[in-house]
């Protein structure tokens, strides 16, 4: 399963690679990383990188995670990749906006990786 993680916090890559080290080693999951909404769109527009699942932060400089979600759900229609939002702002406003824009899930930071793993495995 190819997963694109979008977050402006660079250490997110190290964290995911550590937390999913077994899955990565066993080739059960493959991760790619983008540090902004714009980078993520570039990645998705390149056909050779087809992510089936996107985990995106909401608060990022430049294009926000919610704008990225809107772009993905509007432009990548056949079929649109699943998008899970991960944010430090777990307020009702963000949640409702994300859901209205078609988010497939909504998780808050600090992230419970055991929960995330379960969700990813369920999708897989």
């Amino acid at each position: 399963m190819k997963i694109l993680v979008v977050d402006d916090e660079k250490d997110v890559q190290v964290l995911f690679e550590q937390r999913f080290r077994k899955e990565i080693r066993n080739k059960e999951m493959e991760f790619a990383f983008a540090y902004s909404g714009e980078d993520a769109l570039k990645y998705l527009n390149d056909l050779s990188h087809e992510a089936v699942l996107i985990l995106s932060d909401i608060n990022m400089p430049g294009m926000s995670g919610l704008e990225l979600l809107r772009h993905i759900k509007e432009k990548h229609k056949e079929p649109p990749p699943l998008v899970m939002m991960i944010t430090a702002y777990g307020d009702a406003d963000n949640y409702n906006t994300a859901m209205k824009l078609g988010a497939d899930d909504f998780l808050t930071k600090p992230l419970e990786f055991s929960l995330l793993k379960e969700k990813l495995k369920a999708i897989h």
Binding site: D11, G62, Y89, P110, F113
Partner: protein
């Protein structure tokens, strides 16, 4: 006629030693004298009356002055009291301004703490798992694998340390921001201070307004090193300038100019014996008629309830009176605004 003149007049009339012509001439003189005397008496009476009137008036004036003096004393007391009240109100206003700007930051602070906390929690869990794996490898006698895992544990612990310190820094800066200024100049890394407040202000704006978005650019002069400033005060100035810059780009964005990319740039520079902190935005700019008033207390162009009008005025005082520096502004209406905090080193 007075009795004395009457006696003399009678004596002249009855005198046999005088001729009628002499009598007539002398009586004429006496009549003149009498007339003059009456005139003098009349004048004396008038003077006396005037003197009495004047005396009464003077007395009244003295009483009036005494009353007025008392009234002035009362007014003075009231003015002193009002001045004290004004001073207390001013102190309260300064504190409210601090708390208002802290309020602006609260959401940003929450965001900035959740992120490092995410790393601290997860890297510590990772470390625990890795220790189990390392023990397993050691039991199997795989020293090389155990060593590799130990390196990964070390890296995780370093990450915990970095992000723990990051959260600590944020909490400290929040406390510093709300605390009354110590007025003590301490060696400070102005680049870190500016970067911290830029992030906090950005996330604060973002939390308040979901549609808010702006590119943040920084250009820090790494040669500055530590400079002696009252860090919470200068931090407050930088925060205020950044918040205003974000507001200006948001206002311009509302006008939807084509191809507009809201951008706020924070830069620092060392020049001779000065450090310049510049906060520039490509927002609405400041009209000339407003420019003269921006450092005046309570002047604001923001809608009621959105600005105290004290931000720039307090910033001006902090920079000029508190640090002997200058706060300069360069602007072009509709295009940009740049504030420069110039601090002597």
């Amino acid at each position: 006629m007075s009795p004395q003149l009457q006696t003399i007049s009678d004596f002249i009339k009855n005198s046999s030693a005088l001729t009628d012509a002499d009598k007539e001439s002398l009586l004429k003189v006496i009549k003149e004298v009498d007339k003059n005397q009456s005139m003098i008496q009349f004048k004396l009476d008038r003077i006396e009356k005037d003197r009495n009137t004047l005396s009464v008036m003077l007395q009244e004036s003295i009483e009036d002055l005494q009353k007025k003096s008392l009234a002035i004393e009362e007014t003075n007391k009231e003015l002193t009291k009002t001045l004290e009240e004004l001073k207390a109100t001013q102190a309260q206003l300064i504190q409210s301004e601090k708390m208002a700007s802290l309020g602006e930051l609260t959401a940003g602070i929450a965001h900035e703490i959740q992120n490092p906390l995410n790393f601290v929690n997860n890297f510590s869990e990772v470390s625990n798992e890795l220790i189990d794996e390392m023990t397993e490898q050691l039991e199997k006698g795989n020293a090389e694998d155990a060593k590799a895992i130990a390196n990964e544990i070390k890296m995780s612990l370093e990450k915990i340390n970095i992000h723990g310190k990051r959260a600590d820094g944020i909490v400290k800066s929040m406390l510093q921001h709300s605390r009354t200024s110590s007025n003590k100049k301490e060696p400070t890394d102005i680049n870190i201070l500016a970067d911290e407040y830029l992030r906090l202000a950005y996330h604060g704006m973002r939390a308040k307004d979901k549609s808010f978005n702006a590119a943040m650019k920084t250009d820090f002069d790494e040669s500055i090193g530590l400079i002696k400033i009252i860090s919470q005060d200068i931090g407050r100035v930088i925060l205020n300038l950044i918040t205003n810059a974000f507001y200006a780009v948001m206002e311009k964005k509302k006008l939807r100019p084509e191809g507009y990319e809201p951008t706020v740039t924070v830069s620092t520079k060392k020049m001779d014996n000065k450090i310049i902190v510049n906060v520039k935005d490509n927002g609405t700019g400041i009209p000339q008629k407003t420019l003269d008033k921006i450092f005046q207390p309570f002047f604001t162009t923001k809608p009621t309830g959105q600005g105290t009008g004290l931000g720039l005025s307090l910033s001006y005082d902090i920079v000029t009176k508190g640090h002997g520096g200058e706060l300069k502004v360069e602007t072009k209406e509709g295009e940009y605004t740049g504030f420069s905090v110039i601090l002597p080193v």
